[in-house]
């Protein structure tokens, strides 16, 4: 699974630290998600898509897509 969080974060001009505070996790967790070390829960995925103003499908996609 790949994600576009880093790109969407840059588009919205939000730092890792700010995004972490907005969704209620640590900055290191956002970094782990961006680097594909951790796949977030559905709840966190929905929160991220809400903050980054895009759909979950735009944020996360399967490798073969």
């Amino acid at each position: 699974m790949k994600n576009n969080i880093r790109v969407n974060r840059a588009t919205n001009k939000i730092s890792q630290d700010d995004l972490a505070k907005l969704v209620g996790v640590s900055r290191q967790t956002i970094n782990a998600i961006e680097n594909n070390k951790y796949y977030p829960s559905l709840e966190l995925g929905l929160k991220l898509s809400k903050i980054l103003k895009c759909s979950v499908n735009e944020l996360f996609s399967l490798d073969d897509e």
Binding site: G24, V25, S26, Q28, T29, A32, P40, S41, E43, L44
Partner: protein, 153 residues
Amino acid sequence: MNNHLLSTRWLIPSGIVFYGSTIIGILLMTSTITLDTVILEVSIPNLFKLDDPLVGQNQTWIKNNWMDEILGFLLSFSGLMHGFSAESDEDEYANFLRFQALKWSLVINYSLLTLISVFVYGFAYWQVILISMYSVLVTFVVWFRISIIRHRR
């Protein structure tokens, strides 16, 4: 999401007790120091009355030095509290690391125990079983602590 973890305030006190009792336990196993010098002899009911030549089947009450029981209790109880207390920055990734640590401690300990079951016999095997009772908890707590420290860097 409710993870059913203990409050963060238990993390440091339980950690001090856990690491302290682990160090004492390792010292007792690897050196000639014994807890027999510290006497806390209490009569306790012999509930199961197993055929133990050291205790005696018909004996209802037995006298026992409780120091090793106290150490075992402190190690287990504080280990559980320390391993399952919420971190100051607890989130779902910290919980993921906790269960990864639990998984690997079980895999490593039971893999070793399986090998040892084949190759170790007699009194040495009894000692291995005694160590393995606590090593699952110690491996889990230490593995999780290292993971969380690396994660915070």
